[in-house]
Symmetry: C2
Subunit: 334 residues, 2 copies
């Protein structure tokens, strides 16, 4: 049971109980995703506290005991001994802003566990990838970028995606030269970067394809593909995260486009779209069996266009590209 | 300028500078919505700190000075004197969990300002409501609830909605008896509760219509409508929030369904889908000019069905129902 595994780890950190309120961590531990205000306390007898609106669902679906939420002013009484909270940006900010945050520490124990996926999580991510992969065949580029995104999202939703894993990116023409370009109300031009994912049982998928139609675009696309292959080729347990990033980066740099690869090569995902590990040149740590990471090098030439290719890889001694059913190069018409 | 207004208020609270990192508050103050990690510091010379990925956009669109983000360990040096953070659930938790959180206080100054909308905000919300209202005419109930939601969301997206303001609810048949029912892969039955909204320039809309087709459903629907009218009729500046809730609640109670009205009558919205004020029987405070609130009573009969009707109201001496172009009763076919 996940609670005991977390508790053992917390005890090693000299922590007696932990306060959890991120919905994705509650889902991870209890298998119940709250629709409203909820919190979970980890100790020898873990309890999930939910709002009245979630009570029936939680009792039916949570793997741990469920009770009614208590007033915030009472929560301290529910915890024993040395207390930890989840690691969060809010907590990080407060730590750096405050002279003293009293008795509280944060623990990354749950985020650490979440980096390697269970069998059930891998199945959910496979399903999420299946929904996303099928949907790209239904995308319609004959109108605006927003229209194209809407056709893709529509197909994911009717096939069981709760919602897009993140705001779908359809960035075309010169707008593709920014990796975070917002999907616009402009007509689709070439090339077209589409970065999208589904959510199945709250688990994400994350794929990018770039649709190209000129020699210049193909030249850049081939470099990005070679870089991605170099990264994917070395993905297995024990390999340094920074080496995976550099494998892709070195290819792009050799071709003279290093300065235009302005993000890291990949990241973990699961219940969140961005999770540890970060596959970056300045990451510490190594890949582990059953991590799932993206490999997504890109080249963004200012004022011209951008190309990115992204696949999802399950790490093992025989790493599996979970998105392999989807061709790297896809036909399209405007 | 919003910064000076916030600063004056902070000085009254004996605070010298404030650390802001919620994207919606950054948008409210600077008019720029960050796509990535960003924070903003309020003092005499306010600065927005953004990630490299947002730099160009922020410089083009932010109304306040933009700089590169600093390491978290440096943020304290950017702030002067007594420091405040935004009011957040995380901060509330920490306050109750910790023995002592040092020198930090939280301030609701920005959330308080955001309760009354500026001209520009009202225009954005009108546009968001326009997109959402038009889309309901395109909903297709002939397949699953998910399919219906997808048809509605598709129409909002192609007409300029960034994304749904929240997970669209299509809850039909017995599933409508829970106010937070998830949109399912089951075929649509009657009655159908549809609760939806768009996001235009990051501003939400929030509407509910219930599609009915039997006498029993109509009986309940008429009670909910009478309750909603009773609430809307008294909405103007100076009226107690609790009186608005009770106006609707009293009608439903008189008809004997009080125990089945299991949420509050309404809430503010804007950059977030739920904002102050909460229109509840236990709310303190009164309505103010230029607040925008929902009026959404409902009756949920366990094991049978539910009915909710929700409109958006701009508070003034002549309060305006912003969603009035949309009929309360809409035709449909399954």
């Amino acid at each position: 049971m996940k609670n005991n595994e977390i508790l053992d780890q917390l005890n090693d950190e000299n922590i007696d109980s932990m306060f959890i309120f991120k919905p994705e961590n509650i889902k991870y531990i209890s298998d119940f995703y709250p629709s409203s205000f909820a919190y979970l306390i980890i100790d020898e007898e873990p309890v999930l506290y939910v709002n009245s609106i979630d009570k029936q669902d939680a009792q039916a679906n949570s793997s741990i005991e469920t009770r009614d939420i208590e007033k915030l002013s009472k929560i301290k009484d529910l915890l024993k001994g040395n207390i930890a909270v989840e690691n969060s940006l809010d907590f990080e900010y407060l730590k750096f802003l405050s002279d003293d945050i009293g008795n509280i520490v944060s623990s990354t124990v749950i985020e650490d566990m979440r980096t390697t996926k269970t069998k059930k999580e891998i199945t959910n991510i496979r399903n999420s990838i299946g929904i996303a992969s099928n949907a790209i065949g239904e995308i319609d580029f004959t109108s605006t970028e927003k229209y194209a995104a809407a056709t893709l999202e529509f197909d994911m939703t009717i096939n069981g995606s709760i919602k897009p894993a993140f705001d779908t990116i359809v960035a075309s023409g010169v707008r593709s030269s920014s990796p975070h370009s917002l999907t616009s109300m402009n007509r689709v031009e070439s090339p077209i970067v589409v970065d999208w994912g589904a959510k199945y049982d709250h688990y994400c998928s994350d794929i990018t394809r770039t649709f190209i139609d000129s020699e210049r675009q193909e030249e850049i696309w081939n470099i990005v593909l070679e870089a991605q292959r170099a990264a994917i080729d070395i993905i297995k347990p024990g390999v340094k995260l920074s080496d995976v990033d550099m494998a892709a980066r070195d290819v792009i740099t050799e071709y003279g486009y290093g300065e235009y690869f302005i993000h890291s090569t990949g990241h973990g995902f699961g219940l969140n779209i961005h999770e540890a590990p970060n596959v970056s040149y300045n990451s510490d740590g190594v890949l582990e069996k059953n991590m799932i990471v993206t490999a997504e090098p890109g080249i963004y030439i200012p004022g011209e266009f951008g190309v990115r290719i992204e696949d999802d890889i399950l790490v093992s001694n025989n790493s599996e590209v979970l998105t392999s059913s989807l061709d790297k190069k896809l036909d399209f018409s405007l």
